[in-house]
Structures are given as structure tokens and as C-alpha cells.
């Protein structure tokens, strides 16, 4: 099965990388991959209840964190873009901050996608940040087919 226009939601985790591979493999030549990267909103609360620091220290921290997150996202997009151009695919991306589930729903309604691809949730023993995109509400609300790619380790286990 080959599809023309894919909405790929990934943010660099192992599960998401498996989803990226899947998107590349099932997108037809000349097809389009729209890459959605959600920066989870919990990052906004990362200065927590700090009150002892001066404003300048907090500003330095915020700028540093934004730059680091931006650098990670740029590296991630660059990597997929390279792969897409090798496979003659048209790559575009969208970086948004907020609740992953809602943002995926919003983006899925903006263009006419044939398929949405996301990675499956991380197995319990795997470490990583806690921010879920795949929820029951999402599955219930989507009007486009959704492909959930198995986590790499699970695939190897079988």
C-alpha cells in the first residue's frame, strides 16, 4: 500500500523514529510528508516555583532552554528532510507548542491527508519524558486513518 500525503507526528524518540521509517517506506514517489513536531506544554512550567533568582538569571535559563529545544528540533527536522529528499519526497514541517493530542487533531484538519502516522507509546521500562499524544479521545475524534507503528523493541522481540 502506498499513500500520497502523510501527516507524520514525531519528536525524535525511538518510537517516533520507527514511525518516520514507516512513513518513508509507504509514501509513494513524489508524495508529501508533513511533519508535525509538538513541543509539549510542560516545558512552559520548567522554571517551576523558582523565586530566589534574579530576573536576568531566569531569562538566561529560558533562552538557554529555548535554544536547546530549538537545536534538538532543527537536528530532527534536518535528519528527516535528508531522508525524504533521498526518497524524492516533498517534506514540510510544523513546530507547535501545546497539548500534543489537540494539536495533532488541529493539524489533521488543516490539509487533506491520506494517513496519519505516529509511534506507539514507550514501553513501561523505557525512560523518557512523559507526554502522550495517543489517547482514546484522539482515536475517537480523528476522521483520517491512523497508523500506529509498533515500538522498535517490540518488533524485534517478535
Amino acid at each position: 500500500m502506498l499513500v500520497e500525503h502523510i501527516l507524520l507526528a514525531s519528536h525524535g524518540t525511538e518510537g517516533a523514529i520507527a514511525a518516520e521509517r514507516m512513513a518513508m517506506s509507504i509514501c509513494c514517489k513524489g508524495g508529501k510528508i508533513h511533519h508535525l513536531i509538538v513541543v509539549p506544554e510542560f516545558w512552559q512550567g520548567m522554571t517551576g516555583d523558582d523565586w530566589l533568582n534574579n530576573g536576568s538569571t531566569r531569562d538566561i535559563f529560558r533562552r538557554y532552554l529555548e535554544n536547546e529545544l530549538g537545536r534538538e528540533v532543527d537536528e530532527h527536522c534536518e535528519r528527516i528532510n535528508k531522508k525524504a529528499s533521498i526518497d524524492s519526497l516533498i517534506y514540510s514541517n510544523e513546530i507547535v507548542l501545546g497539548e500534543p493530542e489537540n494539536l495533532l487533531l488541529n493539524t489533521s484538519e488543516k490539509q487533506s491527508f491520506d494517513l496519519i502516522i505516529i509511534g506507539s507509546p514507550r514501553p513501561k521500562h523505557k525512560k523518557g519524558l512523559r507526554s502522550r499524544m495517543l489517547t482514546e479521545d484522539l482515536v475517537r475524534s480523528l476522521t483520517i486513518p491512523l497508523l500506529i507503528v509498533p515500538y522498535p523493541q517490540q518488533t524485534h522481540d517478535r
Binding site: 510542560f42 517551576g48 516555583d49 523558582d50 533568582n53 535559563f61 525512560k127 519524558l129 512523559r130
Partner: protein, 527 residues
């Protein structure tokens, strides 16, 4: 960008505050107040008759302007936009302090005392207006979300806390500051350096990255999230490492804020002991203030001790930042960013501590109260110092004292009594101390003791400014902590995990337990 929103929220908040004031003044709230007092006298009546009126008036007028006025980009617009959020926090604080926390107490008293502790559930769990306020803040941000019009103003909570610390400077005596400062330098020095070293040591054994070890050791050792924020850019921590560290610290901090007062109550710790323990053992500085006020909601003695520890921590922070920067450069070599020592010291220096010192210095000059005041109380036996001539003892009173004077054997008590009989009033601080000792010794008859108490009360005065400071400090901290509660998201706490959770858990527990042992063994009940 225009920050001030055309929104009626601030106006409505103002009306709500005015309604509280009006219902109190008119007596409509009397049944509610009687219910909340639970048979005692309701302690917030005077606050209810003043605070909501003044702030309600300000909020209503500003609210009308924000709602109906036109707003232009600029500094004034930015600062004006914070008022709605600030008033939102204030309204929550009022509701919690005056109504919700007292209602919790009424319900708790209904359940009766817990076992043979002699305490009710709310006393044992520290469920007072401070803890309830922080929990309300947590509920608002995590369940209902902060309204858009209030977002800018929620940051004012930091200003509230810093102003509270600055005002606190006026309440210390030189001896208190010297003793508490010395104690905090020893305790903080030992435990901060100890926990920073322990995290780095454990981190090396558990193969975590240098950046992770650096940021975690600062957070665990110095002052929690504040230290993490200060150190993260210096040790080039990755976002995921920052998230793990802050999540772990917030989870620990919130847990400790509830747990510490319970343990403190069970162990019958004194204000000094609890303040020293919370100031050392709780990872996060915001929760140190929260726990201190949770332990002693109707006084600020515990807070005064805990804040000295907080100040010592924040003064140590630039040193720790430099230490970790040098440690990181040594480990990472060319990959590390070079650190400008002077810049770090200037940028990380807590300016508000200068305000604290200034208030302390001003206080010692006698600008707020006579220089010999102790926690706002001072001795004065002249009209200029507040002594009222009508309070001088009457001849029949001095005659009664004279008739019983022979029962007093101790020389200092006897001398003080003779001075009192001769002059009709207590003549010096030393005499006053002796008279208090005489009252407590119960050597004389009850009538004579009543006269001594009257003479003592006539020369002890309360400094009005210091009393006002104490009120303001309580409100500023309550306001600040409710606002900080609104900045603790479950989303960030949920990131606690990985090696930081393991190492942080071990180091946090050892620090809390060991500091408790040290405090119970070495710290006396008073300073």
C-alpha cells in the same frame, strides 16, 4: 503587543472583595463568622473590615479602566496587565485564609482529637491557610488552568515573597541574626556541600553524564529549582536532564511541605528547631517557607528561622555555580563553555538580600521601634516611650507590695520590688526581667501578683510599625505561596524519573533524616 486585556474580570474581583467587606460590616456574615469561630473568637474580623475594602476599591477602579479603557503598547501597559493576576491571587488568599481554612478546622474539630496526641486532624496535618492556599493554587493551574487575563500577574507572587523577606529584616535582633546566621552557615555549609558532593559521587558511579550530575547536584544540594535554573546553562544540561531534575525536585518539595510539619508536630519541635530543619532538609526554597508557615500559621517565628537558612542558601548559590562550572570545565575540557567569574557573581547575587540587610540596619537605628525591641515588643517607662501616667501604681497597691516584700528572699527580685514600690513603676529592663521572674515564682499572694503583672504590662509596649510589618509579612508570604502554587504543574512533576529520581531520592532522604537528627541533638529550643 498590548498586554492589558479589555476584560471585566478585575472589576468583578473588586466587586467580590467589596461584597466581603460590606457583608461583614453590615453583619450579614455574622452567622458564617460565628460558625467558623467554632465557639472561640474569630481572629480575622479586623482584617475582614479593612483589607477587602481597600483592595476591593483599587481592583474595582482599575478593573473599570481595564475593561472599558483603551490600552496602548508600552511599559505602563505591561505593568498594568499584572494587576488582574495579582488581585486574582489575593482574592484566592482571602477566601482561603478567612473562610476555607477555618471551615476545614471546624470539620476537623468535629472529628475530635487524634488518639492521645491532643491535636485535631488539621493541626497534625498542618491543614491551615498556607497549605490550603498552595493546594488551591495547584488545583487552579492543573485542573482549571490560569485564566489568560491573570497569567501575567501570577508572576507577582515572586515579588510578594521577596518583599516579605525584605520586611522580615526589620524583625531580627542583632543577637538573633548572629546566632541564626552562625547556625545556618554551619548547617547549610555542611549539608549543601555534602549533598552536592554525594550527588556527584553517586552520579559518577551510576554513569550519568557530567551535565546531568552538575545540574542535579545543584538542585539537590542548594535551593532546588532556583539552583537548577541558575546552573543548567553553565553545565550545558540537556532539556531532558533539566526536566528530570526539576520534576524530581518539585515532587520531593511538595511532598516534604506536607510531611515536614506533620513530623515536626509529632516530635513537638520548637520553632527554632523546625525552622532549622525545614531550612536545611527541604530541597526547594519555596517549600521551605511553605512548611514553616504550615508549622506555625499564626506567627512568624519559625518563618524567621527558616528564611535565614534560605538566605544563606541563596548566598552560597554563586559559589556553587562557580564550583560546578570549574568542575564541568575540568571534566569536559574544550566542550565546556568558559565561565566569567565576575559575571557569575554579579548575575547570581540575590539583590533582595541587600533589602533585607538594609531593613535590619534601619531597625537597629530605632526608626521602626526603640533599638532594644525584641520582636516588636520593647521596654519604656517614660511618656516619650509610651508610658501612661495613669498606669503608675496607686498608694494602696504599693502598700500591699510593701507588706509582702519580706517574703521575697532573692536579692535581684527584692531590689526590683523596692524600686517598684519607691517609684510606682518598673525602672529598668533588668528590673522588669526580675519582676517577671517574681511573678512566675508565685512567691507573693495572688493580689500582689496581679499588681506586679499590671506594672509589667505598663512598661511593655508594642511597636506599631513592627506589628504592621508582621501582618504584612504574613500576607505577603501567603500571597506569594498561593501564586507559586499556581506555577507548579503536574506536567513538570510527572517528568521526575530516571537516574535523577533514584539519586535525588537517596540524597534527599539522607539529607532530611540526617538534618533532623542533627537539629534534635544540637539545636536548642531558642536562640
Amino acid at each position: 503587543m498590548v498586554y492589558t486585556k479589555n476584560n471585566p474580570a478585575l472589576f468583578i474581583i473588586g466587586l467580590m472583595m467589596l461584597a466581603i467587606w460590606y457583608f461583614t460590616e453590615s453583619g450579614l456574615l455574622a452567622p458564617v463568622i460565628e460558625h467558623l469561630a467554632a465557639g472561640k473568637s474569630y481572629r480575622y474580623t479586623s482584617e475582614l473590615m479593612t483589607i477587602p475594602f481597600y483592595f476591593g476599591l483599587i481592583a474595582t477602579l482599575f478593573g473599570l479602566w481595564q475593561w472599558l479603557g483603551t490600552h496602548k503598547e508600552g511599559n505602563w501597559d505591561y505593568y498594568a496587565s499584572t494587576i488582574a493576576g495579582g488581585m486574582f491571587i489575593l482574592l484566592i488568599t482571602m477566601l482561603v485564609r478567612w473562610f476555607i481554612a477555618p471551615e476545614i478546622a471546624v470539620i476537623s474539630i468535629g472529628f475530635g482529637e487524634i488518639g492521645n496526641t491532643g491535636k485535631y486532624i488539621h493541626e497534625l496535618l498542618g491543614l491551615n491557610y498556607v497549605v490550603t492556599g498552595i493546594v488551591t493554587g495547584l488545583i487552579i493551574v492543573n485542573i482549571f488552568q490560569i485564566p489568560v487575563w491573570a497569567k501575567n500577574g501570577v508572576r507577582l507572587s515572586r515579588l510578594g515573597l521577596k518583599t516579605g523577606v525584605i520586611l522580615l529584616g526589620a524583625l531580627y535582633s542583632a543577637a538573633e541574626l548572629k546566632n541564626l546566621g552562625g547556625l545556618s552557615i554551619i548547617m547549610i555549609g555542611f549539608f549543601v556541600l555534602g549533598s552536592v558532593w554525594m550527588v556527584l559521587w553517586m552520579g559518577a558511579r551510576r554513569n550519568i553524564s557530567n551535565s546531568m550530575g552538575g545540574v542535579l547536584s545543584a538542585g539537590m544540594g542548594v535551593c532546588g529549582v532556583s539552583a537548577t535554573v541558575a546552573v543548567a546553562p553553565v553545565v550545558q544540561a540537556k532539556p531532558v536532564e533539566i526536566a528530570y531534575t526539576i520534576g524530581t525536585i518539585l515532587l520531593w518539595g511538595v511532598g516534604c511541605m506536607f510531611l515536614f510539619p506533620i513530623i515536626g508536630n509529632l516530635l513537638n519541635m520548637s520553632h527554632v528547631q523546625f525552622g532549622a530543619w525545614a531550612g536545611t532538609g527541604i530541597l526547594n526554597s519555596a517549600q521551605v517557607a511553605g512548611a514553616a508557615l504550615a508549622f506555625q500559621p499564626d506567627g512568624i517565628e519559625t518563618l524567621m528561622v527558616a528564611e535565614i537558612f534560605n538566605i544563606t542558601r541563596v548566598l552560597i548559590l554563586p559559589i556553587i555555580v562557580l564550583w560546578l562550572a570549574m568542575w564541568y570545565v575540568k571534566r569536559e575540557g574544550d566542550n565546556a563553555v568558559q565561565v566569567n567569574v565576575g559575571r557569575v557573581v554579579i548575575e547570581k547575587f540575590p539583590v533582595f538580600v541587600l533589602g533585607f540587610i538594609l531593613m535590619f540596619v534601619l531597625s537597629t537605628t530605632g526608626i521602626f521601634a526603640p533599638a532594644n525591641h525584641y520582636q516588636g515588643k520593647y521596654f519604656g517607662n517614660t511618656a516619650e516611650q509610651g508610658f501612661k501616667q495613669e498606669n503608675r501604681l496607686k498608694p494602696n497597691q504599693t502598700a500591699l507590695l510593701q507588706s509582702e516584700a519580706s517574703q521575697v528572699q532573692r536579692a535581684d527580685y527584692n531590689a526590683a520590688l523596692q524600686h517598684l514600690i519607691e517609684n510606682g513603676k518598673i525602672m529598668s529592663i533588668d528590673d522588669d526581667t526580675a519582676v517577671r521572674g517574681l511573678i512566675n515564682a508565685k512567691i507573693m499572694t495572688q493580689d500582689a501578683n496581679e499588681i506586679l503583672k499590671q506594672a509589667h504590662a505598663a512598661v511593655r509596649h508594642t511597636a506599631q510599625k513592627i506589628e504592621a510589618f508582621r501582618q504584612w509579612i504574613t500576607w505577603l508570604f501567603a500571597f506569594g505561596l498561593v501564586g507559586l502554587g499556581m506555577q507548579i504543574t503536574i506536567g513538570s512533576m510527572k517528568q521526575a524519573g530516571g537516574q535523577p529520581a533514584v539519586i535525588g531520592g537517596i540524597v534527599g532522604f539522607i539529607k532530611a533524616a540526617l538534618s533532623l537528627v542533627v537539629v534534635m541533638m544540637l539545636v536548642s529550643e531558642t536562640v
